[in-house]
């Protein structure tokens, strides 16, 4: 079929089952936006390109589909950078489409020109610059294939402005031909048998669940595996929700702000089975002493993750969709009773650690504590509610005190730690999951970084519920300054006069305020009952710490306790 490059882009999106895109128009993509107009292709207009890219990310994380965003050349494209890097660090499938100046203008420092493929090379799984309209269909086919297969990630397609206007006979290829890209699905099944043997021999085994399990959508098989073997489980931040928080074998999150039980278990385990984890420094603390008594078995789809941070004794390279069911089949060669009888002392020890040192906090008279607020929201929320966070103290409190019940219900920037991620990601999640509760926990710092998206929420009537844990400080920065910088609160105080209720109302969003503990329940119920978007400004004390804490580079079993 004869059509313009811009129409071809729309056709490519349809062929890839893209049902909505997030974007912001500009000079280099005007022809593409004209095609969006003519075809009535669903498009969400955010208020900033960074909003568009985080929204595509939130959409992808909550649905498992590829998120798509569009920006113009130069500043439009550079505004995507933080969001692309965020998606890259957390392995989120995304296709970012950017306009580029016309072919004859490239390399001349033209108006709104930036070397976007150059800039994004280290933060994309792959990228393309399309200068010939005949390459469009192949490039889109490859880009979506690369974004969603193997270890997922963002792919950027930079398209010269004149390519959108050129005519072609559109034909979408059925297959991709990439000699250098053949992700391994099924690995070596002999290794699975070896893992089962190690598991049977181990006296203090531990399964460590990461974001890879969420991405592979393999939680049911994982649950069956851990229940059949009765093996204790810990998770990373990105692995929360893969096993319900209340599951008796789940000992919680490991790492800097992990539970006492999870950190002690890691330190004392003699077998650590990592499933889709990358042993980030926020998990390991001092690498030399991380799980130093344990044989490490590392399951990952990406061979480059093996031995990157932690040396693995056994590697299981392949898709968790293959390896976890294969493990399940293998362990079923023994009876469930035989597995359950193993290592009673270890299990008793873990239970004791958990019971003696639960996550807790000290209530204070007359003030709303962030942990209380999060627990209350958790009690009122639907079991399939999606929680989105920004980055900092509130993010850690949410990970500790919200009860995660299902996979893909925590959307958080774990790897890059992007402040400003929350509001636009929540917008994207609500677009992807209409009818589900989308709950954003944010801070007064992170919220301000992309608060313009309230305007988009209001226009689109997206009923995101925003809880601003407002302590008038950059909480995590202030906590570190309190603990490690002699209480020098250097530029971490936001003693501003920003009225978040008025800000919300000015953007067309309902605003509520909570200052007293007795107002908490009512405000949550009211917010959840309102049909549209709501901002709840919750005033919390400025000096509350996130605990327990392993100081950066410290040992996991040397936590600062309290709370």
């Amino acid at each position: 079929m004869r059509m313009s490059g811009a129409r071809a882009v729309i056709e490519c999106l349809k062929q890839e089952d893209v049902d909505i895109v997030f974007g912001y128009p500009g000079g280099a993509v005007l022809t593409l936006y004209d095609a969006l107009y003519e075809t009535q292709f669903p498009h969400i207009l955010t208020r900033h390109e960074q909003g568009a890219v985080h929204a595509a990310d939130g959409y992808a994380r909550s649905t498992g589909k590829v998120g798509v965003c569009i920006a113009t050349s130069g500043p439009g494209a550079t505004n995507l950078i933080t969001g692309i890097a965020t998606a890259y660090m957390d392995s989120i499938p995304m296709v970012a489409i950017t306009g580029q100046v016309a072919v004859s203008y490239i390399g001349r420092d033209s108006f709104q020109e930036a070397d976007v493929t150059g800039i994004t090379t280290p933060i994309t799984k792959h990228n393309y610059l399309v200068k010939d309209v005949h390459d469009l269909a192949r490039v889109f086919k490859e880009a979506f294939h690369i974004a969603r297969t193997g270890r997922p990630g963002p792919v950027l397609i930079d398209i010269a402005k004149d390519v959108f206007a050129k005519e072609i006979d559109f034909h979408y290829p059925d297959t991709v031909n990439l000699r250098g890209y053949k992700p391994l699905f099924e690995g070596d099944s002999r290794v699975i048998a070896q893992v089962a043997e190690e598991l049977a021999k181990a006296q203090r085994p531990l399964v460590f669940v990461g974001g890879g399990v969420n991405l592979a959508d393999i939680s049911p098989a994982l649950s069956e595996f851990v229940e059949y073997t009765n093996i204790p489980v810990i998770t990373s931040l990105m692995g929360l929700g893969c096993i319900p928080d209340r599951h008796p074998q789940n000992f919680g999150m490991v790492g800097m702000h992990g539970t006492y039980a999870a950190n002690m278990a890691t330190t004392h385990a003699d077998l650590l089975i990592g499933l889709g984890v990358r042993f980030d420094d926020r998990v390991t603390g001092l690498v030399a002493d991380f799980a130093s008594k344990a044989k490490v078995i590392h399951f990952d789809i990406d061979p480059a993750e093996i031995n990157k941070n932690i040396i693995a004794n056994i590697r299981v390279v392949g898709d968790l969709k293959w390896s976890i069911p294969a493990m399940l089949t293998k362990v079923k060669e023994r009876t469930a009773d035989a597995w359950k009888a193993l290592n009673p002392e270890w299990k008793a020890q873990l239970n004791e650690w958990r019971e003696m040192n639960p996550l807790t906090y000290t209530p204070r008279e007359g003030v709303v504590l962030p942990q209380q607020l999060i627990e209350s929201v958790s009690q009122h929320a639907d079991s399939d509610a999606v929680v989105v966070t920004d980055v900092g103290q509130h993010q850690m409190w949410a990970s500790q005190f919200y009860e995660f019940r299902q996979p893909r219900t925590l959307l958080t920037s774990g790897g890059l730690g992007t402040m400003g991620y929350g509001l636009p990601a929540a917008l994207g999640a609500q677009v992807g999951c209409p009818g589900r509760q989308i709950l954003l926990f944010t801070g007064d710092g992170g919220f301000m970084m992309n608060c313009q998206e309230l305007s988009a929420l209001a226009d689109l009537e997206l009923p995101v519920k925003v809880f601003i844990l407002n302590n008038q400080v950059l909480g995590m920065v202030a906590q570190w300054q309190r603990m490690f910088y002699n209480g020098h609160y250097s530029h971490s105080t936001l003693k501003g006069h920003t009225d978040f209720v008025k800000l919300a109302e000015a953007m067309g969003v309902t605003g509520l305020r909570v200052t007293q503990p007795q107002e908490v329940e009512g405000a949550i119920q009211k917010a959840l009952a309102i049909k549209g978007p709501v901002v709840v400004d919750v005033r919390i004390p400025e000096d509350e710490n996130v605990l327990p804490m392993v100081p950066a580079g410290g040992r996991l079993d040397q936590m600062i306790m309290g709370g």
Partner: protein, 164 residues
């Protein structure tokens, strides 16, 4: 330890940026990198010499392999291979010193590819150590500039790197 890697990549725009970007981002110790066309028009072959212990080498190979345009990586250090580098050296050579320089060139089986009143350009192909040795000797006469290609390598025997 030094390793010589044969990296076969798609001959596409941006591929060298992707490779050099990755090397600098991951802080790998690369000693030389040399690229050129191959027997297949759509394939470029890059010879990378990397200084790395076993674990670092594994990371270099795995991270490079992740690049979509990288088709295959073969470690030629592990196989019997021929390794060569080409250098051109511009050295001072006046009428008094010229014959001495020519003698040295003969001993190294190098070639003189340009001569004028004051200088000569010498071309030498060989293993790195041989080029280093020639440079060392020529220092006494005054080296004006040197250009080296970086190492290229090919395995011995009938099997090409792409099929190893």
């Amino acid at each position: 330890m030094r390793h010589t890697l044969a990296v076969l990549v798609e001959n596409r725009p941006g591929v060298l940026t992707h490779i050099s970007g990755l090397i600098s981002r991951r802080a790998f110790n690369i000693e030389s990198i040399a690229a050129g066309y191959t027997e297949e028009p759509d394939t470029t072959r890059i010879t990378v010499v990397v200084q790395a212990d076993e674990l670092e080498l594994e990371q270099v190979v795995n991270q490079l392999s992740k690049l979509v345009d990288v088709i295959k990586i073969t470690n030629l250090t592990e196989t019997d291979s021929i390794q060569r580098e080409l250098a051109m050296i511009k050295v001072k050579a006046s009428s008094e010193t010229r014959s001495d320089v020519v003698d040295i060139v003969d001993i190294f089986r190098a070639k003189i590819v340009d001569v004028n009143r004051e200088t000569m350009v010498i071309e030498l192909t060989g293993e790195e150590t041989k080029i280093d040795a020639l440079c060392e000797v020529l220092k006494d006469y005054g080296i004006i500039e040197i250009v080296r290609t970086g190492k290229v390598a090919l395995s011995r025997g009938p099997i090409p790197a792409k099929n190893v």
